[in-house]
Symmetry: C2
Subunit: 404 residues, 2 copies
């Protein structure tokens, strides 16, 4: 729920988060619906959802401002009144007290819950609630992603798990880096065309393809047993382009290997602006392997900060295989890391230093052995940047994987 979703001002990450949680429990998600802060349309969408599904999870519109009308709309659909819970008013006041502020009067509305619904205590300031009606379950959660996620994990999923007791739907993904979607499909077509359980689907994103195998079975063990032989057969045909394990990004695949070997990593990056470092610090515990990154956006910085030789920059240009190699070596040297990775190139929209938009050179160096590659990026600025991140981390992963 939220007009800001329909205006495109925010992206619906909540739908994805909830869906992942439900899929892991074997609950099929058939529809996502988004509707704005409008009572009639909200009502029509919620009624349609409750008529076609056993469980409806609504997020958003539980805030303190006047455009937050989900409480009222749901009470209306359920045909009940809103009841103010003094205990919740107290909890919301406490949140403000901890931030050293008084609770604004408006926040009292957040303690209004449809009569007969069970309260989910707030983790921020917005309480959630849930109610059972004609054998169907309706949950209302706040729209703020981390508040939503806490209630999903602590209340919604456990409640559904208690009630379902049915089989599981389990997915495993094989990450493929450096082949296209069509080429990947072609290589494993014979396997894909024969399969019904697990089903096999593809998705391509910024230089990587994920091959998703989804099995339905009575339990997790049975589902994994269905997946295992298909997984093996697919990997046999994809070789080094498919990192061992089940990862959703090239960064994850690299991080697992670094942790296994006890290696450290550092980066030196140009067109990616810090995204290689950001990717390597995404997971908790990243300080065990990630030391730092030199973001050298200007040509000067490549020389001064990462120690790329002036004559290489002059003769080959900042967008070149030689500079990618020197950047990777500079990163490893500066931070005293086992592995150095790098990316230089042109994210666009304008050509630069004589190189066309989408030109990417990546480098990786491990214990003195350096490799570089040229990758042809495409798409918009952000897509080219993400392709460079993927390619750089994947080259690092290949070097570490080979250094058995």
């Amino acid at each position: 729920v939220g007009t800001e979703l329909l205006l495109g001002q925010i992206v619906n990450t909540n739908a994805a988060e909830i869906s992942r949680g439900l899929a892991a429990m074997g609950i099929d998600v058939y529809f996502h619906s988004v509707v704005g802060d409008n009572p009639q349309r909200m009502r029509s969408v919620i009624e349609a959802a409750m008529s076609r599904s056993d469980v409806v999870i609504v997020t958003g519109g539980l805030g303190p401002t006047p455009d937050d009308i989900t409480r009222d709309a749901l009470a209306d659909v359920l045909g009940v009144k809103l009841v103010r819970h003094p205990r919740l008013v107290g909890m919301i006041q406490d949140v403000f007290k901890r931030m050293g502020r008084d609770m604004p009067e408006e926040n009292r509305r957040q303690a209004d819950i449809p009569d007969g619904a069970r309260v989910i205590d707030p983790v921020g300031t917005a309480p959630g609630f849930w109610i059972e009606r004609e054998g169907k379950l309706l949950f209302a959660l706040p729209g703020v992603p981390w508040e939503m996620k806490a209630m999903l994990t602590e209340t919604v999923l456990p409640e559904l798990s208690r009630r379902s007791g049915q089989g599981v739907t389990l997915s495993r993904e094989i990450l493929v880096v450096g082949l296209g979607e069509s080429r990947t499909y072609e290589l494993i077509k014979a396997i894909v065309d024969e399969q019904t359980n697990p089903t096999i689907a593809f998705r391509a994103d910024a230089g990587q393809v994920r091959v998703r195998m989804t099995a339905k079975a009575a339990g997790e063990t049975e589902a994994l047993e269905l997946i295992a032989p298909i997984d093996q057969a697919i990997r046999a045909r994809l070789g080094e382009s498919a990192p061992q394990g089940h990862h959703s990004t090239a960064g994850e695949a690299l991080v697992v290997l670094l942790q296994e070997r006890g290696f450290t990593v550092a980066a030196a990056e140009s067109l990616t602006g810090g995204l290689i470092g950001a990717e390597l610090t995404r997971a908790p515990g990243s300080s065990d392997y990630f030391l730092g990154s030199l973001v050298c956006y200007s040509t000067d910085a490549k020389a001064k900060t990462a120690g790329v030789a002036e004559e290489i920059l002059r003769e080959k240009g900042p967008v070149s295989a030689e500079v990618a190699g020197a950047l990777a070596e500079g990163a490893a040297r500066s931070f005293d890391a086992d592995l150095g990775v790098s990316a230089t190139g042109v994210a666009g929209p304008e050509p630069q230093d004589g190189a066309p938009v989408g030109t990417i050179f990546i480098g990786a160096t491990l214990h003195g052995h350096t490799e570089t590659r040229h990758v042809r990026g495409y798409g918009d600025r952000s897509h080219v940047q993400r392709m460079a991140v993927t390619a750089a981390l994947d080259l690092g992963r290949r070097l570490v994987a080979r250094a058995q």
Copy 2:
């Protein structure tokens, strides 16, 4: 369209992108629907959409693999056959040729278009199409974001603009950094409660609040005239917390000021792992003001790479105001930048260096004048990181804004 959306494996950025384009033209978006790669449910969702809306835009499921069934489902809803277009087969073959590969046999399916539909030439390998039926328009675009976006901009929006000739819906946002959503609302409540055109809505995200004013009027000029006095009145009450101009992030607000003054910026970052640099390189032309960033994740790197004095690190600890200040100064010095910004802290989920999760210290230095701040972060790891990025860039913005 896409089971990967319903499994939560990708986020629906296409819905947001399309919605932004339509809103800018004054076309109201009332619903988003997501459905999987299932013929019956896809049919039911498309039929519902066509019954309640004048324009339906479908994305996804036009790829070459067997789970791509949108072409077939739409032909079925429309009651027509699919027709293979030899010209499109040729265009797809050319795409592969440019990548130095042969076209796999599977890609021929992508040239199948419902009979009577108009073709939208492919920008990747997937052609789109559109058709008019009983006064309603149905567009089918590929799911790959940059391919979708190109067709949206070049075909869908111009076609809709040609046909609509109606008024515009125009939004302007006031960014507010450092106040909460409730506090912001409280300060401007008297204005909000009186307004119907523009309407005013709030959204809070990672340490910032955006106040969105949305006006409907005959033309852009008239809409802006409705917004202007409200915009002024709101800013008068929010003071320095609302940067001049209409920005959606603290980074954008800073970048505009840097461009105005001809200043350069560099960063030194710890818990943000490169996200400050990434934020500053998001826009085209960022090499005019962004020089680089020192991502110093380890304590060693803070001393060695950013030149933070060992005794400060030892006495105050790496998570401290003093280190934030020294990092900002180290960044400005290393890259010879006008402005240096920094962030150090604990993203979580574990406490670190004696500081609890969510502790953030930020710093900024401009031409020798340094300021630091303590910010209390909350939420998950990624949320704490984003709060730190926002706070650091906002402190930099305040320094530049004051240096008139």
